[in-house]
């Protein structure tokens, strides 16, 4: 019951590792629950974006075992 968690850009520098394995505590775990767990229970800031399996996700979206969850700041390409 694990998910892979990735960080990008400024968030990659804030976390000790750019990729983590995180255990799901329940089958109702949301993206925000994972954020709280990896960041030490802070609320998920508005300017943190998230994705599940390479698609943008909402903070309240449920995560499944095996998913790849990513956190990153607003994008600035182009």
């Amino acid at each position: 019951m694990n998910v892979t968690v990735k960080f990008f850009a400024s968030l990659k520098e804030q976390f000790s590792e750019p990729v983590m394995d995180v255990e799901l505590s329940s089958d109702q775990t949301t993206v925000e629950d994972i954020w709280k767990k990896v960041s030490g229970s802070e609320q998920m800031p508005e300017n943190v974006l998230s994705a599940i399996n390479l698609e943008y996700a909402q903070a309240q979206q449920i995560v499944k075992a095996g998913d790849e969850v990513a956190f990153f700041p607003p994008v600035t390409g182009g």
Binding site: F8, A9, A51, V75, T76, G77, G78
Partner: protein, 142 residues
Amino acid sequence: MHIEIRKTLFNPWTELDRYQSNENHRIGACASFVGSMRDFNEGSKVNAMTLDYYPGMTEKQLEQIIQAQSSANDLDDALIIHRVGEIQPGETIVLVAAWSAHRKQAFDACRSIMENLKHSAPFWKKEVTDLGERWVEKNTAG
């Protein structure tokens, strides 16, 4: 349709020339946009830049952006090349090109692809200025 994340310097005109002649898309209208690194931003001189991206998700988002425009604007073809890694002032960051039978569709598609890329493709710029490094926090309005 071709999407490419490039780790080294590229010349947009050489790429367009090669892509268009190989694929033989010579009929109608082609609108293109080339964005290059400027040596100043938000009041500071910028000496260099690093572009981070999310391998897998970036390509997937770009593909969806092109697909949406293909149906909205009846595109014959589209090309996106985007630099990542270390970039120097004056170097090309992004090339977007859209081919269609008519100019309206080509213009609309090229611009929409570019705006959607800026809005949702996972790329992040970090600038090196005389005061140190800084992540760019938001894009300029389109």
